[in-house]
Symmetry: C3
Subunit: 134 residues, 3 copies
């Protein structure tokens, strides 16, 4: 069985990490899947999907700053004229999908894990597709 739902996600900042765990959990519940997998997919090229801690919001800031250090937004060699080359590269580094186990009708996230949409070129209206199979 495959249950798919697309989440609409307006972002508000140039770069930010948005916790979408509650919305993904709601799709898992609605699917009635007991045991299987949940795939979370980002349908963009300057946004991405990751998993990380949401207890201390400093972790998100640190991750965004670490990415900025590794892939700065303003490099002379960028040729793409929209000024968001760094956002395309950051999204490629983070990745566009993560797959999480489902057991007993629930997402099997670890104790400290939350699922995040990463915005690297906002604000924009984004879409995240959640597919639950089982």
């Amino acid at each position: 069985m495959f249950h798919t739902q697309t989440l609409e996600l307006p972002t508000t900042k140039k770069q930010e990490m948005i916790d979408i765990t509650k919305r993904v959990r709601a799709v898992v519940s609605a699917s009635n899947v007991q045991n299987g997998l949940c795939s979370v997919f980002c349908g963009h090229t300057t946004g991405a999907i990751t998993i990380n801690e949401n207890t201390d919001p400093d972790v998100q800031t640190d991750i965004l700053n670490a990415l900025e250090r590794a892939v700065p937004h303003n490099e002379k060699y960028y040729k793409h004229e929209e000024g968001n080359a760094h956002a395309h590269a950051k999204a490629a580094v983070i990745g566009f999908s993560e797959t999480v186990p489902v057991q007993g009708g629930k997402l099997m996230l670890g104790t400290w894990q939350a699922i995040f949409f990463c915005e690297f070129d906002g604000p924009r209206n984004r879409k995240v597709t959640v597919t639950v199979m089982g």
Copy 2:
């Protein structure tokens, strides 16, 4: 239902991003899967799978240059003697699989998304395995 096909992919440059979207779409069509998921997997350690824009080819150049800045090909601390340590690290950073939703018999890629094989140590004959489930 699982439908699997392995694509043969000769690369021609030391480092390049090759758009394989058409070939992945053909596997989805051949699978007859209407609703499900499509997994794209790279069976190598110096190549990777990503998703990004293919309208402006400068985006690919910028991503490869941003990766080269973050993980340079010629660092004194590399111990691996084949001279491709950077390629192993770049592949680890980009990742070896992406999973894309399938709806109505079609890949649900976003407007600007294309699927790329990333070559970091070419030219070589590469293989990408596409699995459609639904």
Copy 3:
């Protein structure tokens, strides 16, 4: 059919890559799945899952050093007070899941590929969840 098993994985170093291929293969065998996919998931925020070469152990050292160069452990801008901000960022860069094809009852890894758990803030007791579907 979905077959899920969680591997317990004690790590011994601050940062290391641990080859878990044999344990993943054992889960695939136990599942009796002939054709399908195998998802490997890391339930942590300072560890990650990747694929790479395990013939020359220098490759692992080079990858860890390349990540340390790109995302240093000791940057003044880190705000997270546990001293492991770099580990959260490295895990985000590597990613938390990989999906590998299964054919003829076996993992379809490429010739040089092994599956690794990446420890970025050890030593700790880690868990990796393997789900085989087919």
